[in-house]
């Protein structure tokens, strides 16, 4: 016992000792102090302004400004993305950029970009229009030429008719008619434009209906895709020309054009004018193109220049916002010159915090130092475990069930080994174990690269658990060697099998079986068992008994941890009236069963253990007969049964009564205290008394104890049976593995055909990878986790604490991502 008392505290066993501290910070060094504390990341601030709304807090304006700045930064980042540039983060030169200067800069940049965007949009629109005009010109020319030919033909006819005439007036009249007929001779006018191809058919039909068929619609697809500015996509467009006559038709057509979003462009009939306008349009297009180009390059250059600093700025703004949020948690004191803050910090961090505060005082050239002192409180402290990258994953899976109460024993210490071990008991196959090991090694080897990347959610979970995967694979290889399964094939690695035929002809090997001629196979399951008819009865018996043995061992470990908890919290009541009866009860029943299993194995007796256990309860005084495993078994059984029966009221009754007596004693003493003097601060009493009611609710305590005892008693049976899942899953794994090997690989390999062999190999590989490696891994992981969370932890774990969440810039960066 002396040795045990002198042992140092184990690293991860109990959470760090925390202390409640109070900070009094003068206003001028407040901002700097809080940001230095944020970099340190070891102080959890308590929100002293909990009852205030966000708008009533002191630094609400600064928070708003930070939010506004981060909005601007997000806008800039969006612009960067849209331009297709990547924001390359240079390793930041941490120049102390002033926040206000940054604010002004950001406002300028935002304004600049908004302007640039508006301008370029206008230019782009003009460009599109010109492009459409150019296309209309190109296509419409061909329509008009054909139309022209009709006109000229008709005009010539008219002219021919005119010239032979002698009457100049008639001739001039005719001439006038032909002249005006050039625009109006057939009464034909046209509208040319361009419309998205999808709407062209409907458009044509609509026009047809509106003009009652008095139109000629000619269309041709445009050569290039045009950017539709509404949907900012490239769409196919069709150039159309509508020939019609009459004013009313014109208005109708124009309205329909507008409704369908067709853009109309005037095309002059005259060929020379057409050529002229085409030239103009082309030149303007090229001008616009260059302008747009220059604009885009200018914008990209501007984006590039800020792209480097964007991540730095975003981090700065995030930090500032966090600092102001934390400052909002502090209170102004009476003089309004200091901020008062309260919080939790680990005791080992006190010197570091003091040093950070001193630096803050110095850096802000403040005259007054920051006061940092310990305070008392009745609140339970938060739980803080200092984990490294190996133990972090295990601590997280323990915390997923419940965060440990302050300073109670941490199951993660044992979970590091027992969790992968129980996984391996259910997964045991050293071939699959090697595959898992390779996967784990790949993840660990690329640790540095993968930890800085942003991974998908599945990969992130897998990456976070890489060390668990490593341990699981190592133990799986070990258990696979013990079960003697390599993709379900046994090997004679550790020497010869213990079994051989009874005689040289091996005639009765198929009926009566082999015989054990040597000592037991030195390491693991004998390879002769695989494939035999009696394999399952043997392995089932072995694995079931193994599960019970592991279960009883782990549950005993749990109860022993509860003993260590009681010693630590100096709760002798728990030791005497909870730990001892629990140990007696569990071990007199299931510990005895484990003993019987071991004795049966050692002696090779044929006793039926089911029978022994059941009749131990039903008729303990009967003679055991052929089920006797050792001398004195019957009296021992009677003794154990009586101990178990005594243990149940032992864990149920004494504790509530003793608690009531203790409370009565304390209460009696307190009554005198109140009479003595009213100035005696009741707060000077130990903290627990302040929290509890004056009333000691005996029935509540008694019921609580009864529930606890019943849970333990019934739980000992159900939990022991629950460990049989170790047998069940390992059987399933083994059977699946055998089926895939025999019915897929061997079957395919039996054929001489190369193709069938390859197909069989591929199916075997896929089935192994997806069903055995992925599904079975998840399944065994889950069941091992359940065994830890429920069967192991409910023997000792409280799990009702809360986690230490310090104000830390590093944690905030992780959170945001």
């Amino acid at each position: 016992m002396e040795l045990l008392k002198n042992l140092p505290e184990m690293d991860l066993m109990r959470s760090e000792k925390m202390t409640f501290v109070q900070l009094i910070i003068p206003v001028e060094s407040a901002h700097r102090a809080v940001s230095y504390l944020g970099e340190l990341g070891l102080l959890q601030f308590r929100d002293l302004n909990n009852d205030k709304s966000p708008f009533q807090r002191t630094f609400v304006n600064q928070v708003k400004r930070c939010a506004e700045m981060s909005r601007k930064l997000r806008f800039l980042k969006d612009q960067l993305h849209k331009a297709g540039l990547l924001s390359s983060a240079l390793p930041a030169v941490q120049s102390d950029i002033d926040l206000e200067a940054l604010e002004i800069q950001l406002a300028e940049h935002e304004h600049e970009f908004i302007e640039m965007n508006a301008n370029s949009e206008k230019l782009q629109q003009t460009y599109n229009e010109l492009l459409e005009f150019k296309m209309v010109l190109q296509k419409a020319r061909s329509f008009l030429i054909s139309g022209k030919s009709y006109e000229t033909a008709e005009g010539r006819e008219l002219e021919e008719n005119v010239y032979p005439s002698d009457y100049p007036e008639t001739a001039s009249l005719m001439e006038q008619a032909t002249q005006s007929g050039q625009s109006n001779s057939t009464g034909l006018r046209f509208i040319s434009g361009i419309i998205p191809k999808s709407k062209a058919l409907l458009f044509e039909r609509m026009l047809f209906r509106a003009t009652r068929g008095n139109l000629f619609f000619n269309q041709a697809p445009a050569d290039e895709l045009i950017m539709d500015h509404l949907s900012s996509e490239l769409v196919e467009k069709t150039v159309f020309v509508v020939f019609f006559s009459g004013e009313q038709a014109k208005t109708k057509i124009l309205k329909i054009c507008e409704a369908y979003g067709a853009n109309c462009y005037p095309v002059p009939e005259d060929l020379t004018k057409q050529a002229q306008i085409t030239q103009e349009v082309l030149s303007r297009l090229s001008e616009l193109e260059t302008t747009l180009d220059v604009g885009i390059r200018h914008r990209n250059a501007a984006l590039h220049s800020i792209g480097f600093q964007l991540t730095i700025w975003m981090n700065m703004v995030k930090k500032e916002k966090a600092v102001f949020d934390t400052l909002n948690m502090l209170n102004f004191d009476v003089t309004k010159k200091c901020l008062v803050g309260e919080g939790w910090c680990p005791i080992f961090a006190k010197p570091q915090i003091q040093e950070a505060l001193q630096r803050a005082t110095f850096d802000s050239s403040s005259q007054i130092g920051i006061i940092f002192h310990v305070m008392d409180t009745v609140e339970p402290p938060p739980t803080y475990f200092r984990t490294n990258k190996f133990t972090n994953a295990y601590q997280e899976i323990v915390d997923a069930y419940g965060v440990a109460k302050y300073q109670e024993a941490n199951p993660a210490v044992y979970t590091v080994i027992t969790f992968p071990f129980l996984f391996a008991v259910m997964f045991g196959d050293w071939g699959h174990g090697i595959c898992l090991l390779l996967g784990a090694l790949v993840l660990i080897a690329r640790e540095g690269k993968l930890s800085s990347q942003k991974l998908g959610s599945f990969m992130e979970i897998l990456f976070g658990g890489r060390y668990i995967l490593l341990m699981m694979s190592l133990f799986s290889i070990y258990c696979g060697l013990i079960y003697n399964e390599f993709f379900s094939v046994p090997y004679h690695i550790f020497g010869e099998s213990a079994y051989k035929c009874r005689d040289d002809s091996c005639s009765d090997a198929y009926t009566v079986g082999l015989i054990k001629s040597r000592d037991a196979y030195p390491f693991g399951v004998d390879p002769s068992w695989r494939g035999s008819r009696s394999e399952l009865p043997f392995l089932n018996s072995l694995k079931m008994k193994m599960s019970i043995l592991f279960g009883v061992a782990q549950m005993n470990l749990g109860i022993i941890l509860s003993y260590f908890n009681s010693i630590f919290f100096k709760n002798s009541l728990d030791i005497r009236y909870q730990f001892v009866p629990q140990v007696i009860f569990l071990n007199s029943l299931f510990g005895y069963l484990s003993l019987l299993i071991i004795i049966k194995w050692c002696t090779g007796s044929q006793a039926d253990l089911y029978h022994v256990m059941i009749y131990m309860f039903l008729s303990p005084l009967d003679d055991l007969g052929e089920n006797e495993l050792f001398w004195g078994q019957r009296p021992l059984q009677i003794l154990l049964l009586l101990s178990a029966l005594v243990a149940v009221p032992w864990m149920l009754f004494p504790k509530p009564f003793i608690l009531r007596k203790r409370h009565a004693e304390r209460f009696q003493g307190r009554a005198y205290g109140i009479l003595r003097s009213s100035e005696t601060d009741i707060d000077s009493e130990p903290g627990s008394a302040r929290k509890h009611d004056e009333e000691f609710n005996f029935s509540e305590v008694f019921v609580h104890q009864m529930i606890h005892s019943i849970e333990f008693v019934l739980g000992s049976v159900s939990n022991t049976a629950s460990y049989l899942r170790l047998w069940a899953l390992s059987l399933a794994h083994s059977e699946l593995s055998t089926v895939f090997y025999e019915k897929v690989l061997l079957l395919a390999w039996g054929y001489e055909n190369f193709l069938i062999r390859m197909v069989g190999l591929a199916v075997f590989a896929f089935a192994t990878a997806f069903i055995l490696l992925m599904m079975e891994t998840l399944s065994a992981f889950l069941h091992a986790l359940r065994l830890h969370w429920v069967e192991f932890q409910n023997k000792f774990y409280g799990g009702d604490g809360y986690k230490f969440q310090p104000f830390s810039f590093a944690a905030m960066a992780d959170d945001e991502d």
Binding site: D11, I482, Y510, V512, S532, S534, P537, S541, M546
Partner: protein, 70 residues
Amino acid sequence: MGFILTTLIFLVIGIIACFCARICCNKGPSANLFHLTLVITATVCCWMMWAIVYLAQMNPLIVPILSEGE
């Protein structure tokens, strides 16, 4: 005999592993105790697994009966 011998081998391997852990990562008494706990737990688990399977085969009640086609 084989049982006790192999148990001793496990014990020796455990002690060697403890020394290796102490030599490789000596980070103060509390961390050392933690590593020691891990090594002891792992050794005990592995030994238990082996011992159970060994004991079960020492005096078997049934023997392998080969199936047709072996």
